[in-house]
Amino acid sequence: MILVFIEHKDCVLNKVSLEAITAAQNIAKDLGLKVSAVLPCDKECELAQTIAQYNLEKVIVVKNDKLAKYTPDGYADAWTEIIKKENPQYVVMSHSYQVRDFAPKVAARLGKEVVGDCIRYKADGGKLVLTRRIFLGKLDADVTVGGDAPYFVTFQSGAFRGDNAEKGSASVETVDVNVGEIRMEVEEPFQEAKASVDLTKSEIIVAVGRGIKSQENIAIAQGLADILGADLAASRPICDSEWLPIDRQIGSSGQTVAPKVYIALGISGAIQHIVGMKNATTIVAINKDSEAPIFDIADYGIVGDLFEAVPVLVEEIKKAKG
């Protein structure tokens, strides 16, 4: 049996969980296992009916009043109990911020670890070899897990496609679980100063990273954006330094975009950035470091100084536009 985690807020699905279903279904086929979904909630969650329309053995609503809102303590207790009851071979989750928060705790409590943020797997003699990105995306590592089941695996957002999750019909069952002391009080989640710039609608994006070196140099990128009719965006360090406002940030903690063209200036391509822009139709990367991970996903690459390349780009585009 594989247990797959269904993440939600107030019974509204976090769609990355569909990616986790796809991953779990694939692994199940390779290892000859079945998949059941686990959905923590404080009631007979209506979302369970939606999830039951996928090809799963059953959807288990893990129920306790203290599971109305996410807390790491509440989820850790609920998961520990359901794992002991169901005795799964694998526990599969999407590597979301919430999963990062509670999954290692559950695993540790059961004397296990999480193989986290995997980008793919292969089945080898009845066990999985998982691939993770290390060194900020510069290298890949094939990883195996020792010891007995359950094995905990989380997959990076985008590693599997949610719309590939196989449809079917599953039974729904509710299991009341015990939840102990919750050592944290939650307030309502909120969005900070609603993004005034919606980059998800942009056709062309010019994005800057650490390679831009100073706030003054942002003007150089702005010049390129202007002539292309593009929107300006940035990687996290630029927004952390307040060289550009946070609503220009692309990546896991910022916006996720898929423009026609994405021009990355001085962006090395850490995973956290790449998950926010890898679905751009055409990716252009200009970077001094020929080994920067951004080149792995680029359609066009220029290895060199962006301060040399960009002024020429602007001039040539002017000429081309007549």
Binding site: A108, D140, R183, V186, E192, D289, D299, G301, A309
Partner: protein, 259 residues
């Protein structure tokens, strides 16, 4: 108030990495090292907590080889009060549980009010040492903390803000003691002053040699390699940025058709 900050030495962000001969890690000879980025922010937040409270002690804790003393000395120069060095070679061969266990055994008796770590290391990027450590110490944890409401601190609780995805945030009030993993960019990091560097020389660094136990459920790196290319990248300009720019405009016109 006692705060322990976990800090790790990792390969420099800009270092050119080569896979080691046994293909299990990188070749660490001639690689410049630095303090893990988010750990630097964890230290900064701890120092600000102490300053806001007007009293307390900030203890930096590193697990690593003797070379990691550089990280410790830098932290002491920035204002940490003392250090615990959990001495271990070949940290890359240890799994997150083993690392967390060795640290837990080394700091448990300190009975700290708060433990801060960076949210993940920039080398192995397990992102779970802090969470496992909290479980082993029997204290609550919060990951990806982007703001600490220092004014809210009491003897028994602290309010913190966690970053969620896609620009969402959430405040939590935590019972103390607690462990927080700190997100990069939470504040501006201070530099060590000359006075700080001088003062650091007199501060205590305690070496601890942990017994690192085998862990059956450990994950093991079997092979490290350059990422497989997902796309056929057309490299333009052959190292000449200006020539590359000219070629790129041609591509944008004829192949991508956005000009």
């Amino acid at each position: 108030m006692k705060i322990i900050v976990l800090m790790k030495q990792v390969a420099n962000k800009d270092a050119v990495l080569r896979v080691s001969g046994d293909e299990k890690w990188i070749d660490e000879s001639n690689i410049s090292q630095q303090t893990n980025e988010s750990d630097g922010y964890a230290l900064e937040e701890a120092l600000r907590m102490k300053e806001a409270k007007g009293e307390g002690e900030v203890i930096v804790c590193t697990l690593g080889a003797q070379t990691a003393k550089t990280v410790i000395k830098d932290a002491l120069a920035r204002g940490a009060d003392r250090a615990i060095h959990v001495v271990a070679d070949n940290v890359n061969q240890l799994s997150p549980y083993q690392i967390a266990k060795a640290i837990a055994d080394s700091i448990r008796e300190e009975n700290a009010d708060l433990v801060f770590t960076g949210l993940q290391s920039d080398d192995a990027s397990y992102g779970q040492t802090g969470v496992i450590l909290a479980e082993l110490l029997g204290i609550p944890h919060a990951t990806i903390v982007i703001e600490v409401d220092r004014a809210s601190l009491t003897d028994s609780s602290l309010r913190i803000k966690r970053e969620l995805e896609s620009g969402w945030y959430q405040w939590f009030k935590y019972n103390l003691p607690a462990l927080l993993t700190i997100q990069s960019g939470i504040s501006q990091i201070r530099y060590a002053s000359l006075k700080g560097i001088m003062a650091a020389k007199k501060k205590e660094i305690r070496d601890v040699t942990p017994s690192i136990e085998n862990f059956a459920g450990a994950q093991k790196i079997e092979k490290v390699y350059l990422p497989l290319k997902l796309k056929q990248t057309q490299m333009l300009g052959n190292g000449d940025a200006k020539a590359g720019a000219v070629e790129l405009v041609e591509k944008l016109k004829t192949e991508v058709r956005v000009i």
